[in-house]
C-alpha cells in the first residue's frame, strides 16, 4: 500500500566504494588489455618482419644462385675467349712460322688452315726446291704430309701440299710421298 507522500530515491549499486573499486579494476583490466594488445601487435609485427626477411632471404638466395650461374657462364666465356685467343695467337704464330718456312723461290697461291691440318697451294720452280726447302720443315711439323705436283706452262710446278697432325694417342703413320 502506498502511504508515503513521496517516492523513494532510485537505488544504485554504484556506491562510492564500489565506484572506486570499479575504477581500480577498470584501470587494471585496461592496462592488462593494453599490454596484451601491444604484445599481440608486436608479435604480429615481428611475424610480418620475419616473413618479409625470409622472403628477402629467398630472393637473395635466388639472386645469388643466378649470380653464381652468371658468374659460371662468364667464367666459361672467359675460358672460351682465352681458348680462342690462345688458338688465334697460336694460329697467328703458326701462320707467321708458315710464312717464315716458305722460301722466297716458292710462291704460295693459297693456304688453307684446317683444325689439324694445312693445305698449301703454290708454285715451285722444281720439285727439288720444294722437297729441300719446304717439304723438310713441313715434315718436321706435321705427322703426315702429302704433296702433289702439276707441271705448268713456264716449266714450274704447281703443288698441293696436304699436311695433317694426328692425335697424341693415335698411331703415327709415315707419310707417303709421291
Amino acid at each position: 500500500m502506498k502511504l508515503s507522500y513521496i517516492k523513494p530515491r532510485r537505488k544504485t549499486i554504484f556506491t562510492k566504494d564500489a565506484l572506486l573499486l570499479l575504477l581500480f579494476f577498470s584501470v587494471t583490466i585496461s592496462m592488462l588489455i593494453g599490454t596484451y594488445a601491444s604484445l599481440i601487435y608486436r608479435d604480429q609485427k615481428f611475424s610480418d618482419d620475419k616473413a618479409m626477411i625470409l622472403k628477402q632471404k629467398e630472393e637473395l638466395e635466388l639472386a645469388t644462385v643466378k649470380a653464381q650461374k652468371d658468374s659460371a657462364d662468364i667464367e666459361k666465356k672467359r675460358l672460351f675467349f682465352e681458348q680462342i685467343s690462345t688458338k688465334n695467337s697460336l694460329m697467328s704464330d703458326s701462320i707467321q712460322n708458315l710464312f717464315d718456312l716458305v722460301p722466297s723461290s716458292i710462291t704460295l697461291s693459297e693456304a688453307r688452315l684446317l683444325e689439324k691440318g694445312l693445305v698449301l697451294y703454290g708454285h715451285t720452280p722444281s720439285k727439288d726446291v720444294y722437297n729441300f726447302m719446304l717439304a723438310a720443315p713441313l715434315h718436321a711439323i706435321f705427322h703426315r704430309t702429302y704433296t702433289s705436283f702439276y707441271p705448268i706452262e713456264n716449266g714450274w710446278y704447281s703443288f698441293v701440299s696436304t699436311n695433317h697432325l694426328d692425335d697424341e694417342n693415335s698411331i703415327t703413320e709415315e707419310p707417303d710421298e709421291e
Binding site: M1, K2, L3, S4, Y5, I6, P8, R9, K11, T12, I13, F14, T15, D17, A18
Partner: protein, 321 residues
C-alpha cells in the same frame, strides 16, 4: 527483487522528531534473515553532524538505504474524500494520499520540500503521515466501531473520529505550539464559566435530552447528556481541573481532545455523532493519566494500546513498493 537488493542488505532508517529531540531507529537486514536494530536519540530537530555520522555508519555499508520520516509539521490533516478537486477546494495546495479510496490525508506542499531540504544531506525516501499510522494501527477497530482515535506523541497528538468506517473529523495538534497553550488557557476559563452556568441551569431546569448537548459541549461538558446523575460528579471533576492543569502534559492533551470534540460537535460542517469510545495509541507510555481524564471527565470508554512509532514507521517503509 532489484539488483541492489541482491548485492546489498536493506537498511531502514526511521526518523521521528519530537519536542527538541530526534530519535533515529535503524533496522538492517543482514544475511540469513538476521535483523540488526539500533536506536539513538539526539538533541535538536535539525540534522547535525552526530546524526549524519550515525546514519553514515550504515549508509557506508549499503546503498540500499531507505530513510523514512514521520511528518511532524503542524499544517497537516485528513479529509473524507479522495477527490483531488475536493481536497484542493477545501485545503488548497497540498500533497495528499488517498487511503483505501475512502479518505485522504494531506500535508502542505511546502512541508514536503522543507523536510526534503532539512534532510538533504542524508536524503529522504518516505514521508509518512501520523494519520495513516493511526488508521493502520486501529484498522480493526475503525472498521467496526464509531469512536475517537488518538495517536499520542510527545510533542503532538493526532485525532481522528470515525463513524461506521467513515472519516468524520481529523486534526493534528502540536502540543508545543504556543497558540494551543493559549487556546488551552482560554478553554479552561470558559470551562469554569460554563460549569458554573451549567450548575445554575441544572438547578433551574436540568438536562435530560440529547438536544441540550450543543449548549453544553462548548465547555467540554458533553458527557453530561449521558445521565443527569453524572452532573454532580462533573462538578467535582471541574474542581479537580484546577489541581491538574498546571502540572500535567496529559491534562493539556485531554483539553485539546476536549476542544477537538467541541469543534466536532459544534461545527455544522462535520457530520456529528455521539462519541463514547476512545482508542489511544500511546507512544509516550504516560497515557494512563490521559485515559483517566477521559474516563473520569468525559465518561468515555477508553482503550489504550502501546505503539512503537519508530518500528511502525519502519513497517510502513517495508510495506511501501
Amino acid at each position: 527483487m532489484s539488483l541492489v537488493s541482491l548485492f546489498y542488505a536493506k537498511i531502514y532508517i526511521n526518523i521521528v522528531v519530537s519536542k527538541e529531540i530526534t530519535t533515529i531507529y535503524v533496522e538492517m537486514k543482514a544475511g540469513k534473515g538476521k535483523v540488526i536494530t539500533q536506536i539513538e536519540t539526539f538533541d535538536g530537530v535539525e540534522i547535525n553532524r552526530l546524526m549524519t555520522n550515525f546514519i553514515d555508519s550504515f549508509t557506508r555499508e549499503s546503498p540500499n538505504v531507505f530513510v523514512s520520516i514521520l511528518d511532524y509539521s503542524f499544517d497537516q490533516g485528513a479529509i473524507a474524500s479522495c477527490s483531488a478537486s475536493a481536497i484542493r477546494s477545501q485545503v488548497g495546495n497540498v500533497a495528499s494520499v488517498c487511503y483505501e479510496n475512502r479518505w485522504s490525508f494531506y500535508t502542505a506542499s511546502k512541508n514536503i520540500e522543507t523536510l526534503k531540504k532539512r534532510y538533504e544531506s542524508i536524503g529522504v525516501d518516505f514521508i509518512f503521515s501520523p494519520f495513516a499510522m493511526l488508521a493502520q494501527f486501529f484498522k480493526d477497530k475503525i472498521e467496526t466501531e464509531s469512536a475517537i482515535f488518538i495517536l499520542v506523541q510527545e510533542a503532538s497528538q493526532t485525532i481522528m473520529i470515525f463513524g461506521e468506517s467513515k472519516l468524520l473529523y481529523a486534526q493534528h495538534i502540536d502540543t508545543q505550539d504556543s497558540r494551543n497553550e493559549t487556546l488551552l488557557i482560554d478553554t479552561i476559563q470558559i470551562d469554569d464559566e460554563i460549569m458554573l452556568n451549567i450548575d445554575e441551569g441544572e438547578q433551574e431546569q436540568g438536562l435530560d435530552n440529547f438536544a441540550d448537548i450543543e449548549d453544553l459541549d462548548i465547555g467540554g461538558s458533553i458527557n453530561e447528556f449521558a445521565s443527569n446523575t453524572k452532573i454532580a460528579s462533573k462538578e467535582s471533576a471541574a474542581v479537580g481541573h484546577a489541581t491538574l492543569i498546571p502540572s500535567g502534559m496529559n491534562y493539556q492533551r485531554f483539553t485539546m481532545i476536549q476542544n477537538a470534540l467541541d469543534i466536532f460537535y459544534k461545527n455544522a460542517n462535520y457530520e456529528s455523532i455521539f462519541i463514547e469510545t476512545a482508542y489511544l495509541a500511546d507512544a509516550t507510555a504516560t497515557a494512563s493519566e490521559l485515559q483517566n481524564y477521559l474516563e473520569e471527565e468525559m465518561f468515555m470508554t477508553v482503550f489504550v494500546r502501546k505503539i512503537d512509532i519508530l518500528k511502525t514507521l519502519c513497517d510502513f517503509a517495508k510495506a511501501e513498493k
